[in-house]
Symmetry: C2
Subunit: 654 residues, 2 copies
């Protein structure tokens, strides 16, 4: 590297040079940025320096992860997976039926959806703990969005077909995101958003269950608190106490088994089989007491047999196509956010890696295949996956076991569900939903980060009082606003000298840091972009004004140098460079001198290209704040620092 | 401050303490953030410590800035303002008529709009150089947006009333933004966006002039290149050569006077009066040759008299209300962006300050008053203000002079414009627009910042091939995407030791910086937010992988410490804290040790509240990278650095 790449040190003590990084060809930079944006995890790493045959095998394993673990599969693994699979099936059957009711779809769809998609996932998915199935929030959202335009009672067939189509588009969308490595958009759903959104959705889902618990025939289509409460209290005369009592009993049973399993983790299976037990008990009770004739609604006839093909039912040419696409994309995003978050959490526990984009392709394929075999939207629900994990699953074989169990149910056992009371399903849903209301997490958010708490609460309130989509949009908007605000209103910090050192730190954080007489040291805490350049110009001018006021009142030496610590400025754009030029003009005009400390590679490159360094003078750029202060102090002590000073003061007085 | 606020230094050499800033009451922090967000320029600064009478006077001056300069107004100022005012009037009259034609409004509106709004602005505006008037882009946009829904030929009255209403809402919107101190949204239009957008709009406006130049009767309502070209070339038989020749002559005249004034700045007035000269010459020519009967279209009858009141014409209850509001807001934003940018630039030249929010109130009031007196949207156009500045204006009196001149024209001279050929107006518009196409700025953007160039070009292409609104939306979206990408994909840099110092810098920028054996030093260049926490987790893991690979191949000491330099991390949210916890787990599991260097005040406060510091151990946080490296080196040399190491390695092998 030639000397010309360096800025020459000033005439003072030993100081180091600020390097301008060697110029990179545009295409190389572009390639690097694209790689960092879309392939941050470097998925092709393991392919490097491998012979072609090995590369082929790795490639096949990349797309079908089951090839990886099948050769190493043992009888011990099978035993564990068998237990886990049967356990999750006992949860999947009642939950599947419940959530299908929540989506206003025929209950049998819940069983169909626990048969085909898990099989697809076990071939393509890379999580060992994810248990595939339908989820409450996406079910509710499907009902709300499709129900807005299609009345399920008047046109059940169209509604059903639209649900398949929505699942199809959700799958296509997920797979596309995965293929184009855009899985990172899931990251824009922050933890706080998800906490608030999930709690809100759980509240809404619980509210919907009042229909089942109270045995109401007519119910609002709205999901917000106000509509539901109005609907419930406008028909108090229709409340069925039989249904209510039954519901409360089962709810109590489910919650107490959960609580028991929580304090005795060894008995996790008790809470896992509690839903199925409730279904069996409830059905027996209804069958023996003929309660279906006394206001307790039951599921009724369930068709025997495996999933019928439904490819022909997908609606591609219809005025409802946009509705299906919209529903598919929104439910698809919600579903994949849950699925990926769940997969990642358990992978973190067991210390293996999950490639989010690969998972998206698996989710996408399972929904596309599912939509052609009478399934609606599936993903990896938290409750089922947690049971799977606790039951000791080892590989995706537990999903296969679950699918086979559901298959047997579909083939032989569906008539047994005829007398299952709806109120039991409502109790199962409520008990599953209650644990999604994570108020402890909300308290933690309040303690640590008020803004995150605001995001969380707005998601919750938006969902509960508006709609599920509205809550999500509000929360994402506020989250993004925060990011933009960080950029639009960056912090500018005044630095002072830590006693007995050459270290300079923020005087607010380190109250013992001292001002250096005659020198104002500012640090900007964010990249300088168009969105903050006007603000920074005014803020820096104000810092200088305030510093001058302070000096006047304290009678210290007058201000001579303004040092900008640029170490936290990650990037700068052309508006930012203009801002620096204007700041330099302002500072010059007042008779001070602008000094830069530690500009980063990207920043100094652009400052150099835009000739700002030539305007400023290379000798006014230092590697550290300490060296800049040293040089300024040297000049303050030896001579008049700035020959322009006299002239500048007249300017200032104009 | 108690010792408990400090993290205790580790057991090595002399190192400094990282302070946790004292906790602030929530309301105080909130107040501070709100102040920084909405009052960054501290407008109440001058009110501090003043007696009430002075405060009242300052307050009055704040809202009516003319009170500030009127007492100091001298005869010399008046002389300068008189010359400047007459000069800009000579530009304002032909431009006003031209732009009103561009907005499909009666030409007289252009004169009305140069009479009342400048008077209002001279009372309320704080710029000394801004010359008020209509602008081409907002005029075109008004025509495009209103023309979409109302056919001006079929329903000219409704169209006219909607234009007034749009101006009214633009004014209300601008004034509200000013009152609520939201002027900073203008900053989201970056320099690059404005360059591209202005060039695109200028191209579109020039294309529209083909109608006038070629003397066409019928013309497309579309503004995009394709529609215009199709419209022009589908009626080649209708082209009028008389009109074309006249247009080219005047265009040549205008451009050459501009060029002359540019190389001889003393003769700026030549280019300033060229438009009026063209109008006079053109009108005389038509009058003498009766060219209006040979295909040269003329303005025709202009009503004599001052602005009629139009408050009763505003449309508030109509199906078109939303259209008017939408048009008002969009044109209002464009207009205020131009006005504020122009005001700020000239204030920068003359070294005085402009409060953007105060300006917005002035713009808003002048548009509200204007809309009630038969004016459409006005702002401070660049061309007219530049002429005002060059003509040596001193205060807003030049606007009053212009208004009075226009008033005389309205009262006595309008009949003279009867024979003014439209083609001259087209030539005036084209010559004004051509200088908005700032290709040199675009080249500069390409050289300095490729992303800004992309923004600029997409604005240009969006405007020229789509529509004005589309170009604007695309450019803003890409600009915001850049900000989000900066956050979503922050840079992580590897630091090395600058020889003969305790300074650690990025090894890419400083190729002579050396790795420290056994220690990996990473610096994250952005706040850690939900949008980047997954990415950073994976990226840090990858850096560690790559470092281990490098160490394996080079046979160095094995990795023991990972130091995270947090000095550029301005803020962190709860997702970010979870990410750090996960990173710590990953690093522990591999048998290394995580060390933090220089976390900022906001960051360490949150890390402390969320107990991360307790998990990490306070002794693993250092004030500088140098001290962290020193401590790690000391431990590397004296003993086994991490008692967990043996155990951890078995973990790793699982």
């Amino acid at each position: 590297m030639g000397n010309s790449d360096y800025v020459h040190p000033s005439n003072v003590e030993c100081s180091h040079r600020v390097a301008i990084p060697p110029p990179q060809p545009f295409l190389k930079t572009l390639k690097y940025s694209l790689k960092e944006t879309f392939f941050p995890d470097d998925p092709l790493r393991q392919f490097k320096n491998q012979p072609p045959s090995r590369k082929f095998k790795l490639g096949l394993q990349y797309f079908l992860p089951f090839l990886e673990w099948v050769p190493r599969y043992t009888l011990d693994f099978l035993k564990s997976d068998l237990i886990a699979g049967i356990t999750i099936a006992s949860l999947a059957i009642p939950q599947g039926i419940s959530y299908a009711k929540l989506a206003n779809l025929p209950p049998i769809l819940g069983l169909y959806s626990s048969f085909v998609p898990p099989l697809v996932y076990s071939l393509m998915g890379s999580s060992r703990d994810l248990a595939v199935g339908t989820v409450a929030v996406a079910s509710l959202l499907t009902a709300a969005m499709l129900g807005d335009e299609v009345n399920v009672k008047e046109n059940p067939k169209l509604y059903l077909h639209l649900a398949f189509t929505a699942a199809f588009f959700a799958g296509v969308f997920q797979a596309c995101l995965g293929v184009f490595r855009l899985g990172f958009i899931v990251d824009f759903l922050s933890h706080a958003t998800i906490v608030g959104f999930m709690a809100g959705a759980a509240t809404v889902v619980c509210l919907q269950q009042l229909k089942g618990i109270l045995g109401l025939d007519h119910f609002t289509h709205g999901t917000d608190l106000v509509s539901v409460m109005r609907s419930v209290f406008s028909q108090t005369h229709q409340w069925r106490w039989e249904s209510g009592v039954l519901g409360c009993c089962f709810l109590f049973f489910l919650i107490s088994t959960r609580y028991f399993s929580k304090i005795r983790p060894k008995f996790f299976w008790i809470s896992a089989i509690a839903p199925l037990t409730s279904v069996i008990l409830g059905s027996l009770l209804v069958y023996l007491t003929h309660a279906e004739k006394h206001g307790v609604q039951v599921i009724g006839e369930l068709k025997k047999g495996l999933n019928p093909p439904s490819f022909g039912d997908l609606v591609f040419v219809s005025p409802y196509l946009t509705l299906a696409v919209k529903t598919g994309i929104i439910t698809g995003v919600i579903a994949m956010a849950e699925g990926i978050a769940v997969g990642r959490s358990f992978a973190m526990f067991k210390n293996y890696n999950i490639d989010g984009n690969k998972e998206l392709i698996a989710f996408g394929m399972m929904n596309i295949v599912g939509s052609c075999t009478s399934c609606y939207l599936t993903t990896g629900p938290f409750s089922r996956s947690a049971v799977n994990y606790n039951a000791g699953c080892k590989t995706a074989v537990s999903n296969i076991v679950m699918a086979i169990t559901v298959m047997f149910t579909l083939l032989f056992l569906t008539p047994l569900f005829h007398y299952t009371p709806l109120v039991v399903l409502s109790a199962i849903i409520i008990s599953a939903m209650l644990r999604l209301i994570d108020y402890e997490a909300a308290i933690h958010l309040w303690k640590v980060d008020k803004f995150d708490f605001l995001v969380c609460m707005s998601a919750y309130i938006g969902v509960v009082f508006g709609s599920v989509q509205m809550g999500l949009v509000i929360a994402i908007a506020i989250s993004l606003l925060r990011v933009l605000l960080f950029i639009a209103r960056p912090k500018t910090l005044v630095l002072g000298n830590i006693p007995n050192s050459k270290i300079f730190r923020n005087v607010e954080q380190y109250p013992n840091a001292n001002n250096v007489p005659g020198i104002l040291i500012l640090k900007i805490d964010a990249p300088i972009y168009f969105a903050n350049s006007s603000y920074l110009r005014e803020r820096i001018a104000r810092w200088i004004d305030e510093e001058e006021d302070r000096i006047k009142s304290s009678g210290e030496n007058s201000l001579q140098y303004v040092i900008l610590d640029m170490s936290a400025i990650g990037n700068i754009d052309t508006s930012g460079i203009s801002m620096l030029e204007e700041v330099k003009k302002i500072i010059d005009r007042r008779g001070f001198k602008l000094v830069l400390a530690n500009p980063g590679g990207e920043v100094i490159k652009k400052l150099n290209k835009s000739k700002f360094i030539a305007i400023l003078g290379q000798e006014w750029i230092y590697l550290t704040v300490g060296e800049a202060v040293g040089a300024c102090n040297y000049m303050l002590q030896t001579s008049k620092p700035n020959p322009m000073k006299g002239e500048a003061e007249t300017w200032n007085a104009v």
